[in-house]
């Protein structure tokens, strides 16, 4: 099991050919209080870099880009009633969607935790 990070502040935790995607703690801190999460349809085919979810905060709406291509296997139903989970627990309970990876080699273009921390420190 490995976790990768994108420059758009998504994380993806990969187990076999299934990746769980959310936004990072840094991202939720920047967005502020999250009031709604618009999630993709299960079964939808998505391409790396597509905007497939939206995180609404009191301040603004922000796109979430899928860090990998594939098919949406599951979305986090708990966020319908508790969107604030993305604030309180962004990298575990506040996950957004699971995607069945179409091409595992896309993960190589993402950062590992150390690289992402360095990336954020440079912002």
């Amino acid at each position: 099991m490995s976790v990768y990070y994108s420059e758009d502040h998504e994380w993806i935790e990969v187990e076999g050919d299934l990746g769980t995607v959310g936004i990072t703690d840094y991202a939720q801190g920047q967005l502020g209080d999250i009031t709604f999460v618009d999630l993709p349809e299960e079964g939808a085919t998505v391409a790396k870099g597509d905007s497939i979810a939206v995180v609404d905060s009191v301040k603004a709406a922000s796109d979430v880009y899928t860090p990998v291509s594939g098919e949406i296997a599951e979305t986090n139903d708990a966020l319908a009633d508790e969107p604030e989970l993305v604030n309180s627990d962004p990298e575990v309970g506040g996950w957004l969607f699971r995607v069945k990876l179409a091409d595992a080699s896309e993960l190589e273009e993402l950062m590992d935790e150390a690289a992402y921390k360095k990336f954020v420190a440079g912002l």
């Binding site: 502020g32 209080d33 009031t35 709604f36 618009d38 939206v54 609404d56 905060s57 009191v58 301040k59 603004a60 709406a61 969107p83």
Partner: protein
């Protein structure tokens, strides 16, 4: 010495400093996240917009609004001019019914009746005190200069800071420190008076931009940090950023210049005809009067209205308002209403669809959000009249 290097020694030329407001360091010290707004770094939030919003609704929030333009309109020294008549020729306000210390909302209109700004006018002893929006203040000064005779001075009180203390407990916190002829608790909504706050001279009016009871406090910039500390030392008070200021004013149904009104709209269309006082509607004699009178007589194609949305997805500025397949309007402000726990929006829609209860839809990111026209304010005002 060459002429060019003379610039460095020219006593009339001051170095250009980056625009910083008096409480800049104070905000940073309180942990604010700063963003640029109206040309200044300003605090968008401290602990978080939601918490700050709810705190203001239940207790008291201190807002720094020193970016706003404070102007003092008075006769030039030695000039024999009726400043009241001059200001009435510039603004659609009825000053005859505005008593000393009273505050009134008005509009700055262009010659075609488009809205250049909205503003507060207070009668002082020998002139009028105006508070205008921060982003428009320089243009407003230019427009007013054009509208007012040379014998009338426009004094930009740019060394004065402006704070707002808003919320149901604002009066308790402020009354402990405000010393003046009129006890603070007896000051009514849209009235102002001179006080001292911890020894600092302050002009305080019972007014604001949140829909709550509250006060706006003008003080010398160099004393602003002292007064902010004094007020935040009260258990009811926390500093509140611009983020919550925006969500609070939206719930209160108060329009934001540059978003919910612009030179594109007139006073009638924008639902701000109360900013054009009754006598002036009939008499005219101010820039844009013809448009106001025509719009009052004939109505306008669109009107600014409030929308309550189903679900939790917020509509944002620029979103199309739809009725069936027809585009019937546009959202000018929108967001999640923390007090109501559902999204709300302001929009301009076709007048035929502006009645309360009308079912409309908003197009957001390829989806249709169900919405209903509702009366504003979305959250009831709690002004102390």
């Amino acid at each position: 010495m060459s002429e060019i290097s003379d610039f460095e020694n020219d006593p009339d030329l001051e170095p250009i400093e980056p625009a910083i407001l008096p409480l800049d360091a104070w905000h940073r010290d309180k942990g604010a996240r700063m963003v640029e707004f109206a040309g200044y770094p300003m605090p968008i939030q401290y602990e978080g917009i939601l918490a700050e919003h709810l705190w203001t609704r239940e207790s008291a929030g201190l807002f720094d609004v020193s970016h706003m333009g404070q102007l003092y309109i008075a006769p030039a020294e030695g000039a024999e001019i009726d400043v009241e008549a001059a200001l009435e020729a510039a603004l659609p306000i009825d000053l005859a019914t505005l008593k000393t210390g009273s505050v009134r909302y008005s509009l700055l209109l262009d010659e075609e009746g488009g809205i250049l700004d909205d503003l507060m006018v207070t009668r002082w002893n020998s002139g009028f005190y105006l508070v205008v929006n921060g982003a428009t203040k320089w243009d407003d000064i230019g427009t007013l200069r054009e509208y007012l005779p040379d014998e009338v001075n426009i004094n930009h009180l740019d060394e004065s800071a402006l704070l707002a203390l808003q919320g149901p407990k604002a009066v308790d916190a402020l009354a402990r420190h405000a010393k003046g002829e009129t006890p603070l608790t007896e000051l009514k909504f849209m009235k102002g008076a001179a006080y001292t706050l911890g020894g600092v001279d302050a002009w305080i009016s019972r007014s604001g931009y949140t829909g709550e009871d509250g006060f706006e406090i003008a003080i010398p910039g160099e004393e602003a940090a002292k007064v902010a500390d004094l007020l935040c030392g009260e258990p009811e008070v926390k500093p509140i950023g611009l983020g919550a200021r925006d969500s609070l004013r939206l719930e209160a149904g108060l329009p934001l210049y540059g978003h919910d009104m612009s030179p594109e709209q007139g006073a009638v269309e924008a639902g701000l005809i109360f900013g054009v006082n009754k006598r002036r509607r009939a008499e005219g004699g101010f820039p844009g009067a013809a448009r106001v009178q025509k719009d009052l007589a004939e109505g306008t194609q669109r009107l600014r209205i409030g929308l309550a949305l189903e679900g939790r997805m917020a509509a944002r500025e620029g979103a199309k308002v739809m009725s069936g397949d027809s585009e019937v309007g546009v959202v000018t402000s929108g967001g999640f209403a923390p007090t109501l726990q559902h999204p709300i929006a302001m929009a301009y829609v076709d007048t035929a669809l502006a009645a309360n209860g009308t079912a409309l839809q908003i197009e957001m990111r390829g989806k249709r959000l169900d919405a209903r026209v509702v009366a504003m304010p979305f959250v009831p005002n709690r002004y102390v009249r």
